[in-house]
Amino acid sequence: MKAFLVLEDGTVFEGTHIGADKEVISEIVFNTSMAGYLEVLTDPSYAGQAVCMTYPLIGNYGICKEDMESLKPWPDGFIVRELSRIPSNFRCDMTIQQFLEENNVPGIAGIDTRALTKILREKGTMNGMITTNEKVDLDEVIPKLKKYTTGKVVEKVSCEEKYTVAARTLEENGPLSGSASFDKEAYARGEREKKPSLVQESNGAGLKVALMDFGAKKNIADSLAARGCEVTVYPALTPAEEIIADCPDGIMLSNGPGDPKECTSIIEEIKKLYATEIPIFAICLGHQLMALANGADTYKMKYGHRGGNHPVKDLATGRVYISSQNHGYVVDTDNLDPAVAVPAFVNVNDGTNEGLSYTGKNIFTVQFHPEACPGPQDSGYLFDRFINMMKGEK
């Protein structure tokens, strides 16, 4: 079946329909990761957006459910050059076609994704519609597209009730990356070994972390649990008092979708968390909210950073790390009061802020994703830094 992608500037791409049979209007963004489409699809930060993958061959290794970063895919739509006809991977549970259909995600394939990316790069992120209607009336649709806003999406993606992710021992983490060995008999029984772990030390054993879920990727809690921390996940709108009353050793503010400035009530709660002496580590939206809570500003970037190849420089050491990124908004450090916070990381490509260190506080925040999934695992050491901070406080 034919499908169309209509952009608010009037550009129309014709392709083939994939996934669920429905029409959507959404914000169109692109992601440059070459692998990890499932992690992208299940990253709650994409709620309210339709994602275009710049890598043209998608679905090659199918869907390995244990790699999902949340319980379901969040993008409103999925835009690809080509979906693989067969998936090939020993852990593959289903095809990407099935996954999109079952989860009600519509999409379009067979379009010139590079041309689309160039439009978004030149004109900035814009809204669009994915439809199978061959008789779309642009005059009618374009005003609708222009009117669309992502809105308050954090509440949609956050968990409804608080829950706990238990601390794990090193054995429970499964084989250390590099030490896995193929067990023929277990494989024949249908057992698939666990993903390899990078964590070599239970340095967080005995620590309790409160994770504010603004749309958290699963691997944030997992990264802490694998290091021995017990992680309690709180819905986004949980009052600060409730968290403080639970006496966590540290608080994590998660990633999440949408415009940080829409999260007005959450920002108020974060102000209260800031006022305590509890160590705080924040990622992505969490990083932006902490900045807003402290009087800084955020602005929308022309087309954001979405991919797994962005260089960030740790200003304390001068070292550059390749990071996983997914954000459309960024903290404006121009009017940042150094008495409140100073830049800790900067993007090597465009000089935008990638992290802050809060003056006189045990608080540090990053714009990128140390939990990776998808993308490079280079900055996983930040979880250890957070653990050390909590230990110092204890």
């Binding site: 440059t32 692998a35 006809r85 090939s88 250390l176 896995a180 087309y303 998808p374 993308g375």
Partner: protein, 1064 residues
């Protein structure tokens, strides 16, 4: 960290002659790095024995030494030039080994020279088998169970403890020389013995066989501050077991999820960090196909063939960045040259798929085994880019120039499903074609995967191509079907064949429906940032990013495709120089080429680079967009020449010599007319199509005769026939491939072979120098030792050659380059062949005479005359030194290849010996080619009867040099009778000890064996020659070469004179 101010004079070591496993990629890397160093104001002292390289140009380095790559020579150069640092990581394994030896001996330290790019410790840790294994164990990175052994017994014992099969890898060798997989003790002993001999340090790694696992490579960069990035990862379609140089490779990996991808990436970064490499590095992994188990196969702490591929696949200039890092810069200080905005500290992301296919030499060595193993055999490779895998594969196939254009190009239709399954067990270069036929015959994906271990995903992609073939064959050709076939990159001629239509009809149907190729950019960032470098590849469907530019006159320079025997790096040298010359003359330059190993496909050589197959259709698609003012074909070897007619049909003017004049040189009848008209003699001959006609001509001329196809390079299929029977044999071989042109049969004349390259402006000619071959006619010019200035011919002959050259060049209306081969018999000169184009000797003669003939030819093509260019027409004055070009072979890499020299070219590369005297130049040339004698002073001579007289004279000289001579019965008798002491040894078929035992005893320096005719592999001579080559013994098959070697040894000297070629 800014540049290290102490680095001012850097010595760069090149990789020497082109051999299998070490090819043009190091010229590309070295050239890029030298330019990058010079950009920083660093003085570059370059050492490389290979004169065909661009890196040895005086505009690339400040001081250029084309000298043998030995420790002694390097020490002498260091003493003379006093560099403060040395960069050994750009010259392949050869360069790295030399750097290590200089460091280990303490020479560098005592001369205040710093090793850049890597420390001796990091090289040892990466290259020494045991050191590497220990290091991996320490950091928790898995290697296959293995043990380094120094003798066969230990190897057997260890293998018994881990079980067969095992892989054997000799330490410090190139392209896996001497390695292999042993399935039983007999194989183990054979391979191990050979490997121990070939290893520089006498060590072989015996390791658990992980054949069948996925083979994945990562290209990693690290700077002195410890910042690490991966440039690219690559997946071998052929699983572990086939050398990555012989595998079909795709970038990025296609069948790895993020979990596997990141797991291996993290491991690669951990390893490079632990090794503390400063620069580029390649890490190879084996990944279990159904688990997360992996093994680190090996690490190359230097730029490599894979890094050249990764550079071209991503646009990330690894060698350039490596050079900057070596100077002290960190990755975040180096600009990304493609975007001009971002920095080198990022990871390229692709929005396309890249396929590399190796160019294997089995069309040259028809007796060789086609089997692919851990020993690399490919001489070169092609790369293609497309936004779908099927298209990239199709484009790569037709880039090979091996008479293949689709998955039906090798015919396996005679085999049934069961036979195909059997055939699939053979791992060779035809495997993908066998898979395609198996799919056609209904063999299941599972069965194919089971036998080949090739991932299902790739099998499915081949199936998609097979299904398209069937659709084209059986369904009406609708616009939709045509569009899809083009999306999968089916060329028009294949669609025409399958649909039973004419190629023209298909093209017309495409044009009528707007189905045309569009061009996308390689920009390192998947369009996230605007790129400023026009590096293009084609796809069907979508927006075209290539725009016709009109501000300057435009010239299309056609490259020479993959490196193969007969068409090597020399033609890339010519293409690049022509491009630079056109650019200097104000032209916009456009290069089309498909070879990832070359300088010409570096994105900053031409104004625009199209990485595309060099077929008429692919070129036409580019011409339609660019509308060039002209094309130049005379620099790109036969690949470019073949496109001449097509370009004219497209309306593109051919710059320089006209197509009809090229034809006149190749077409027998036309050429005979020209010879008649100019009064130049040649050997009598005729043109034929069939064996019957050939025999008739041969008998009329009288044997021996020379048989060869027209329009070929490197003497492909050329043979000297002595009898009707041989004519039949050779004609059958030539006619295996349908010939568009007649076959030539000429009377074979024996004399001195002379070669000239000249520039002609239509009226005057310029001959930089006359080259004389040491081997008599009958040995291909590319395999002969070539001497400039010609040492044994007199002024009369030289004048005659200059005169004939002028007459031929003007009669053929040559504008640009011409190459002519002559035979001189006493004072008579005959012409053998004329090539109105650049030749293999152009870089060599340019460098040793200091006359930049490609630049001059380009100026002439653009309308200048030789006089206007400031040269006196005619033969130029001779230099005051001798320059000798020595061929270098890779016979040890190709099992079963016949090594004896003949009219068909077999060498893969060359080196230069340059000195004030002929003798020293000859000594240097042999030394550069790796002939470092004497060692044990034992030699074997076995020659055919006709050669015995000459052999006696040669043997006497070796005897004087202190050699003990062994000879087979009749040769020994002849020698002893003549008073040369020779010990008789038994023939192979006789009782032990035989000549074979002697060779295997490792104490033989040299075998001189002149072969009897024919290609019979069972002959003693063939076995002797193969055994000698495979055990690392020098083996000469032409007495002229043997005589030259004797001369060289008689004049051996420890202290060589060094010549800075840049100052000539």
């Amino acid at each position: 960290m800014p540049k290290n101010p102490n680095v001012k004079r850097v010595m760069v070591i090149g990789s020497g002659p082109i051999v299998i496993g070490q090819a043009a990629e190091f010229d590309y890397a070295g050239t890029q790095a030298c330019r990058s160093l010079k950009e920083e104001g660093v003085e570059v002292i370059l050492v490389n024995s290979n004169p065909a390289t661009i890196m040895t140009d005086k505009d690339i380095a400040d001081k250029v030494y084309i000298e043998p790559l030995t420790v002694k020579v390097l020490e002498q150069i260091i003493e003379k030039e006093k560099p403060d640092s040395i960069l050994p990581t750009l010259g392949g394994q050869a360069g790295l080994n030399l750097g290590m030896e200089l460091e280990e001996s303490g020479f560098l330290a005592s001369h205040g020279v710093t090793l850049l790019g890597a420390t001796a410790a990091s090289i040892r840790n990466a290259e020494g088998r045991q050191e590497f294994k220990d290091l991996m164990e320490r950091i928790g990175e898995p290697c296959a169970a293995s043990k380094v052994v120094e003798n066969v017994e230990d190897g057997i014992e260890f293998t018994n403890s881990i079980g067969y099969p095992v892989v054997l890898r000799p330490a410090y060798t190139l392209g896996g020389s001497g390695g292999g997989i042993a399935h039983n003790q007999i194989e183990l002993e054979e391979i191990l013995e050979n490997g121990l001999r070939l290893s520089r340090v006498g060590q072989v790694l015996v390791e658990r066989c992980i054949a069948g696992w996925k083979e994945i490579e990562y290209e990693v960069m690290r700077d002195s501050a410890g910042n690490c990035i991966t440039v690219c990862n690559m997946e071998n379609i052929d699983p572990v077991g086939v050398h990555t140089g012989d595998s079909i490779v795709v970038a990025p990996s296609q069948t790895l999820g993020d979990k596997e991808y990141q797991m291996l990436r993290t491991s690669a970064l951990k390893i490079i960090n632990e090794l503390k490499i400063i620069g580029g590095c390649n890490v190879q992994f084996a990944l279990h196909p159904t688990s997360f188990e992996y093994c680190v196969i090996e690490v190359n702490p230097r730029v490599s063939r894979s890094s050249a591929l990764a550079s071209k696949a991503t646009g990330y200039p690894i060698a350039k960045v490596t050079a900057k890092i070596a100077l002290g810069y960190t990755l975040d200080e180096i600009k990304n040259a493609i975007t001009g905005k971002t920095y080198a500290s990022f990871e390229p992301t692709l929005d396309y798929c890249v396929v590399k296919i190796p160019r294997l030499p089995f069309d040259k060595f028809i007796t060789a085994k086609r089997t692919l193993t851990t020993q690399m055999k490919a001489t070169g490779e092609v790369m293609s880019i497309c936004n779908n895998f099927e298209g990239a594969l199709m484009k790569a196939i037709r880039s090979l120039e091996q008479h293949v254009d689709c998955l039906r190009s090798y015919d396996f239709t005679a085999l049934n499903a069961e036979e195909l399954k059997e055939r699939l067990k053979i791992v060779d270069d035809q495997r993908i074609y066998v898979i395609a036929e198996a799919l056609r015959k209904g063999v299941s994906y599972e069965d194919i995967n089971d036998i080949t271990k090739i991932d299902m995903w790739f099998i499915d992609k081949i199936a998609i191509l097979v299904e398209m073939e069937a659709a084209l064959e059986t369904q009406p050709l609708t616009v939709e079907l045509l569009k899809e076939a083009k999306r999968l990159e089916f060329p028009d001629n294949v669609i025409a064949r399958l649909t039973g239509k004419k190629e023209e009809e298909i093209k017309q149907m495409r044009y009528d429906n707007g189905i045309v190729a569009v061009y996308k950019m390689v920009d390192t960032c998947a369009a996230e940032f605007a790129a400023s470098t026009p590096y293009y590849y084609s796809v069907y469907g979508g927006e075209c990013e290539a725009k016709e530019t009109k501000d300057r006159k435009k010239v299309l320079v056609l490259g020479s495709g993959p490196i193969r025997i007969g068409q090597g790096i020399e033609f890339d040298y010519c293409s690049v120089h022509a491009t630079w010359a056109f650019s200097k003359a104000g032209y916009e330059t456009i290069i089309i080429n498909n070879n990832p190993e070359t300088v010409s496909t570096d994105f900053d050589i031409a104004d625009k680079l199209y990485f595309e197959p060099l077929t008429a259709e692919d070129v036409e698609s580019i011409v339609n967009i660019e509308k060039p003012d002209g094309a130049v074909v005379q620099f790109g070897g036969q690949t470019a020449i073949k496109l001449t007619e097509h370009l004219m049909k497209m309306g593109v003017p051919i710059l320089g010599t006209k197509a009809e004049d090229v034809d006149a040189a190749e077409d027998r009848e036309l050429f005979d007319k020209i010879l008649e008209q100019t009064g130049i003699p040649r050997a009598a001959g005729g043109t034929v199509y069939t064996a019957e006609e050939a025999k008739e001509v041969a008998n009329r001329l009288g044997y021996p005769v020379l048989v060869r196809p027209s329009y070929v390079l490197g003497g492909q299929g050329m043979q000297i026939a002595l009898s009707d029977q041989e004519i039949e044999e050779f004609m059958a071989i030539i006619n295996r491939i349908a010939q568009d042109h007649p076959i030539l049969v000429d009377k074979y004349l024996q004399g001195k072979e002379i070669e000239v390259d000249a520039v002609c402006d239509g009226e005057d000619i310029l001959i930089p120098g006359i080259m004389e071959h040491i081997e008599r006619t009958g040995v291909h010019s590319g395999d002969s030792i070539s001497v400039y200035p010609a040492p044994t011919i007199g002024k009369l002959v030289k004048d005659k050659i200059a005169d004939y050259t002028r007459r031929l060049a003007t009669a053929l209306h040559v504008k640009g380059l011409i190459n002519i081969q002559f035979i001189a018999i006493d004072e008579d000169v005959y012409v053998i062949e004329v090539n109105p184009r650049s030749s293999r000797t152009v870089p060599y003669i340019s460098k040793v005479t200091g006359i930049p003939i490609v630049d001059l030819a380009t100026e002439v093509i653009l309308g200048k005359t030789i006089k206007e260019l400031g040269y006196k027409p005619g033969l130029q004055p001779e230099a005051e030194y001798y320059a000798i070009k020595m061929p270098v072979f890779s016979f040890e890499k190709i099992r079963g290849a016949e090594i004896s020299l003949g009219p068909e070219m077999k060498s893969t590369g060359e080196c230069l010996g340059i000195a004030k005297t002929f003798h020293e130049a000859l000594y240097k040339a042999f030394l550069g080619a790796g002939v470092n004698l004497p060692k044990y002073k034992n030699m074997i001579i076995t020659v055919k009867d006709a050669d015995k007289g000459e052999a006696i004279r040669i043997a006497r000289r070796f005897e004087k040099l202190g050699y003990t001579i062994y000879a087979t019965r009749s040769t020994a008798a002849a020698l002893n009778e003549a008073g040369v002491k020779a010990r008789k040894v038994n023939k192979i078929t006789q009782e032990s000890p035989t000549v074979m035992d002697l060779i295997l005893g490792h104490r033989i320096d040299l075998v001189i064996d002149t072969p009897t005719q024919g290609r019979d592999k069972s002959r003693d001579g063939f076995l002797i020659r193969r055994t000698a080559i495979e055990t690392g013994v020098n083996c000469l098959t032409a007495l002229d070469t043997a005589r030259a070697l004797a001369t060289s040894l008689e004049n051996a000297s420890n202290q060589l004179t060094l010549i800075d070629v840049a100052s000539l």
